[in-house]
Symmetry: C2
Subunit: 340 residues, 2 copies
Amino acid sequence: MKRAFDRVLLAHGSGGRLTRELIEDSIFPALENQFLKPLSDSAILPELPAGRPAMTTDAFVVDPPIFPGGNLGHLSICGTVNDLAVAGARPLWLTWALILEEGADAELINACLQGAREAASAAGISVVAGDTKVVPKGRGDGIYAVSAGLGVIPPGLQLSDDLIEEGDVIIASGPLGDHGATIMAARHGLESNDLQSDSAPVNHLTEALVGSGIDVHAMHDPTRGGVTAVCNEVAERSGKRIVLKESSIPVRPQVRAACELLGLDPLSLACEGRFLAWVAAKDATRSLEVLQGYESAQGAAVVGSVAARDVQQAPVVLETTIGGERPLDLLSGSELPRIC
Amino acid sequence: MKRAFDRVLLAHGSGGRLTRELIEDSIFPALENQFLKPLSDSAILPELPAGRPAMTTDAFVVDPPIFPGGNLGHLSICGTVNDLAVAGARPLWLTWALILEEGADAELINACLQGAREAASAAGISVVAGDTKVVPKGRGDGIYAVSAGLGVIPPGLQLSDDLIEEGDVIIASGPLGDHGATIMAARHGLESNDLQSDSAPVNHLTEALVGSGIDVHAMHDPTRGGVTAVCNEVAERSGKRIVLKESSIPVRPQVRAACELLGLDPLSLACEGRFLAWVAAKDATRSLEVLQGYESAQGAAVVGSVAARDVQQAPVVLETTIGGERPLDLLSGSELPRIC
């Protein structure tokens, strides 16, 4: 009789019989598709549609791995789908590698497999290749996952921070900071019924936006480092000044409350199912209309604009609700480890 | 003054200023290329050449991470290049994600970055996207790396275990078991001047073989589980019987000696710079000529052949030097964890 999988053993990662059982009994049922199934050295895929290919990868080590609104598996698929989506690419194929810790229980692994399955299904993509390794107890933390993805940018679509112009508006696809606040609250044992991660694929939203004839110049997803990090990078690459308007930035009350309690800035918190778009001012209203046509982007809002920048000026500023202006600097990063 | 990087801090993985410094001061100089440099959400690539795309991924957790003949960084690039190469694909673009442990010293990280650079250069590929995460001390083991790769199988090339025929010969591109023996010897504190990993990209060899008009039916790289695991998988997928001839299998004396000391079977040990090719018998000699034209494949040899299989027969057998026949079963896998 086959031994049931209830805890991860070192042998599950050694390429032998137990590795095969783990793959065939647990991983395949979650992710099965015609490309993954042959279980050979590489997945052989159909020729790509016309356009420029885009590739990306992300490692996920979030602590805790299961949290309100998602889990490490769900997050790891969304992260790579979203990095492709904001580059203007239609995500096509993903790879997914797991580093499991000896002794991790099946419940954790299966929850993450189920999460990956749901995210892949929501995004409309397939995981076509994978790998599983096991590290000894105390050399991992239950489960780490690394996803990589391939997408194609349709012919004619150009997105680049170089295309951002003075006067462009910045649109957020929904409330900000939910994922980061949820993880930090969970880590500090704070309970809240309505605080949950925004972990979700955004590719249907980005495709709708760029497919609607709107003059989109650039898109980015505010993950690690949040809106602050993304806006600083955009300011640096574009040479422009990013002006965010505090009163227009959608932050859920429960996220704001958690931030106040924990001393965090919602603008530095990771989102995992939101994106920012830099669009021509003339298309601001139309952009909101397109996004708000989707359940997941009901809270889309114009959160700022682009201005010229003098050398002395801070690259990113927040116009506060009390009428002041506060520079938003890149954090050194020590505050929020393992948020994704 | 910028703080010099001498140990990995948690903040190096948080997406803030220290993450940027790690990337710009250490990772870019090792891997720099025009696609990686923009450091955006995805790498935007030129359109692919004609043919079917192939994708693969591998996680690397080898212990120890630095070993005679290579390191985890070198290995992680070779592993993905080789999985593409044996599928008949020309490797084009790789992604590379690192999971670093807080407190890991710069020497280890830099050795692995240098290894990745050398392997990428030897294979002629670029690492176009990456990610770096840091886990707390005691939740990792210095460095783990996950590579994923995209290649293209040229039009007209068909490789598949389904194409393997009775009478085909099996060619090994060089001596077997070097990587596995080296890791196991290092882990047991056995020193040997001439025992070293075979970690190397094989794509130039596979391209030469399939490009020379030889009737190649399938290729595989014997990594985890070694020749035994690969041959069992091939036997299962092809429905044929694999007959290996012990006296023809190239195993270096120092590998054989380490195996005897440690109670290991060289045929179950991982190689990381070798491949097996199933070719039509008429092309056996020509295959060896092509491979032996390369320094790294001087030791290429015909190691076995393909026969019909009856239901009762073992799928993979070894004809021993003393004239007997020994079935080669897939290991449960518990003997050799973290070999790659």
